[in-house]
């Protein structure tokens, strides 16, 4: 099915049913609500600092058109000036003094005139301030932060998948006394927010000497109750016959885990991987607590550095936020295909 076909599906019949209008109206609203902020972010990341603070704000990155006028060192901003006789003229502004601006005609640069500021309209054009991207990449250790973030995300996701799948395997395949109690205990930890355990975990991490190491970010969150729960629920749906067939086939329990259960849980693992990547990539509070040296900053903490006490460099913050969004979006695009494949894959009648 092509994209156009998918996007133009209706309830059927010759005319559009009112539910078609309702459905599309709802979907458009949804797209606007979800995607609007992202579009705003992307467009704003190309605005100069001045146009970000401009009022009224614009959606597109607009900036004042400028022109080089002979006799002036800097390019002059261009305005449309309404002259006393009612005619309009394109002029550059040399300087502004109070309510008066000294303007000059670019074709006659030696005859500046004074114009009331109400009599001139700025000429604006679409301009992308790519320096928002290039400047921080030069000045700010973006690549180092990126490297740290990638390391934390990948290693933590691998460890999370490994540990959680083992726990889920034990809790779903084996029957032992206390199995349900263990599960309830794991689920129960979901109710404890990170802010509550921030200090104790910080103390543990400190006494292990992990402060300012990326492992301090990776290890405490490696075993997630959500992941164990998700994988366990999925593994419980695997037919028991498969496990027993593997036992009859002389497979050890490790082989059953690695060669039967893990491959068959791929869709659930993909979902957890997506979650884990998003959690780790976007994690802020915990890394902020344990990473104090800038060489161990992750991207999120690095971005925070643009937010000074007195001034926020919004243009850099927005641009770097866009860069930060790209990898996690790509991961989602690639991994979400795994979710659908393999679901109809049980092979049992």
């Amino acid at each position: 099915m092509s994209v156009v076909e998918a996007l133009s599906r209706t309830r059927g019949g010759k005319r559009l049913h009112w539910t078609d209008y309702a459905a599309y109206g709802y979907l458009v609203l949804g797209v606007f609500l979800m995607f609007g902020p992202v579009v705003w972010l992307a467009l704003s990341s190309f605005k100069t600092q001045a146009s970000l603070l401009e009022f009224p704000p614009t959606l597109l990155p607009m900036s004042q058109k400028e022109a080089v006028v002979s006799g002036y060192d800097k390019p002059l901003p261009l305005f449309t000036v309404t002259l006393p006789d009612g005619s309009k003229k394109l002029m550059g502004q040399v300087r502004r003094v109070g309510l008066q601006a000294q303007m000059v005609d670019p074709n006659a640069p030696d005859k500046p005139i004074n114009v009331a500021i109400g009599q001139r309209q700025p000429i604006r054009e679409l301009a992308f301030a790519t320096s928002n991207y290039t400047d921080p990449l030069r000045q700010f250790a973006f690549t180092r932060y990126l490297g740290n973030s990638v390391f934390v995300t990948i290693v933590a996701t691998i460890i999370t998948l490994l540990i959680n799948s083992m726990a889920a395997f034990a809790l779903s395949i084996y029957e032992f006394p206390g199995r349900n109690a263990a599960m309830v205990g794991i689920i129960g930890t979901l109710m404890i927010p990170i802010t509550v355990i921030l200090v104790p975990v910080y103390l543990v991490v400190t006494s292990l000497g992990l402060i300012n190491s990326l492992w301090a970010v990776i290890l405490p969150g490696a075993a997630t109750p959500t992941g164990v729960f998700l994988l366990r629920q999925y593994m419980m749906t695997l037919p028991r016959d498969l496990i027993e067939a593997a036992r009859m086939d002389k497979a050890s329990e490790w082989q059953i885990y690695a060669r039967i259960v893990l491959p068959l849980s791929l869709p659930a693992l993909a979902v957890l991987a997506i979650f884990s990547v998003m959690w780790r990539w976007n994690e802020f509070l915990w890394p902020l607590a344990v990473l104090t040296k800038s060489e161990s900053y992750t991207l999120q903490i690095g971005l925070n550095a643009f937010q000074g006490e007195l001034q926020v460099q919004w243009q850099y913050l927005l641009a770097m936020t866009v860069l930060t969004l790209i990898p996690v979006s790509l991961v989602f695009v690639f991994l979400q295909r795994f979710i659908t494949t393999g679901i109809a894959n049980t092979g049992l009648k």
């Binding site: 027993e244 593997a246 009859m248």
Partner: protein
């Protein structure tokens, strides 16, 4: 190939006992079928032999060694599951090779064995396919192939044909028979279908409520059932049972009273039959003939024309519904009155507790 022995094997779930002291010996190369109604414990017993269920009491011995505590993976048995339980993420080749890889065989040997099994089961063209791309019969063959490539001591089958349609089931039944003839291994097969049991088994074990009712060759069970349960379970359609009372019994003649005062004289007697003793008389559908001067007058309820033979169901006053088989295409209609004769030499007598007292002479159906 191996010799299996069950000694007083028991299984309970909590306080509920599901297998009550089963004793059984399966000899090398035998094809033994466990048959019984659903819930009789036949699958549980098989899984206990496999090692997939704990044994609550008694011993399971394979080649003389008690295997009670040996895990399934180390017992050296193979099992074919009702659901086939093929590994969906592996190709047919991988499915069959999985067990061999776990045994640590060299690659060349694995390849040789898998391709032999594939040839035997006509799967050579499908080796690279995933199970979901196979038909039911092919999946079944892969499951069997996976079991036999390992040359297991005993091959266990847990209702392997019950997911197939009727036609395929008959075809696979023949293949399994041929396979056993070719390979000659020890096989234990669980089914609730007594036709499968009759056609496949070298010996049948009839189970009911966790106990063995009778063990024997198919025709032994058919001709000389030990009790009423086996008599009615084995044979399709079922044996007809009618209540009777002993009117008189002498050395070579027994007279029975049937419901509504009908009398039946049998050409055998027995000292242990008491006058007035209540009995169940059993007679198979093919041992009843329609005759002018029959023993019982009955009215036809329903006739089933199978082409080569006709079954009709008839009731008489005070009698349960009888199933009667006739050769060829007999023209019976609902409401027709027929007079039937029970072949005296094929009558079975059962005591009130269900135990067989007398069997008619062993008969070839005729």
């Amino acid at each position: 190939m191996a010799h299996l022995e069950l000694r007083d094997v028991e299984k309970s779930y909590g306080t509920v006992k599901v297998i009550h002291g089963v004793d059984l010996e399966v000899k090398d190369g035998e094809f033994v079928v466990f048959v019984g109604p659903s819930g009789c414990g036949k699958s549980t017993l098989l899984r206990m032999i496999a090692g997939l269920e704990d044994i609550s009491g008694g011993d399971v011995r394979i080649d003389g060694i008690v295997v009670n505590t040996i895990p399934a993976s180390e017992r050296g048995l193979a099992m074919v599951f009702q659901s086939y339980a093929l590994y969906p993420h592996m190709s047919v080749y991988k499915n069959m090779a999985f067990g061999l890889e776990n045994m640590g065989l060299p690659k060349a040997e694995i390849e040789r064995r898998v391709s032999n099994a594939a040839t035997l089961l006509r799967l050579t063209d499908y080796l690279q396919r995933k199970p979901k791309a196979l038909s039911g019969g092919q999946r079944q063959r892969v499951a069997i192939g996976r079991a036999i490539v390992r040359n297991p001591k005993i091959c266990l089958f847990d209702e392997p044909l019950s997911n197939l349609d009727a036609e395929l089931r008959v075809a696979m039944r023949k293949e399994l028979s041929a396979l056993h003839a070719d390979l000659g291994g020890t096989m234990i097969y669980v089914t609730h279908d007594q036709v499968e049991a009759m056609t496949l088994a070298s010996r049948i074990v009839v189970l009911r409520a966790g106990q063995i009712e009778q063990v024997g060759a198919p025709l032994d069970l058919y001709n000389r059932p030990d009790n009423l349960f086996v008599a009615t379970f084995i044979g399709s359609p079922k044996m007809n049972i009618v209540e009777a009372t002993v009117a008189a019994s002498s050395g070579d003649n027994t007279r029975l009273t049937l419901p509504e005062g009908r009398e039946l004289s049998l050409p055998f007697g027995g000292g242990d039959l008491q006058t007035g003793q209540k009995l169940s008389l059993g007679i198979r559908p093919e041992h009843i003939v329609v005759a002018a001067d029959g023993d019982l007058e009955m009215s036809v309820d329903l006739a089933e024309q199978l082409g080569g033979e006709t079954y009709f169901y008839a009731t008489g006053k005070g009698l349960p519904q009888f199933t009667i088989r006739e050769n060829g295409q007999a023209n019976r209609r609902r409401g027709d009155t027929v007079s039937i004769r029970l072949r005296r030499d094929s009558v079975h007598l059962f005591a009130e507790d269900g135990k067989a007292i007398r069997h008619g002479a062993t008969q070839v159906p005729g």
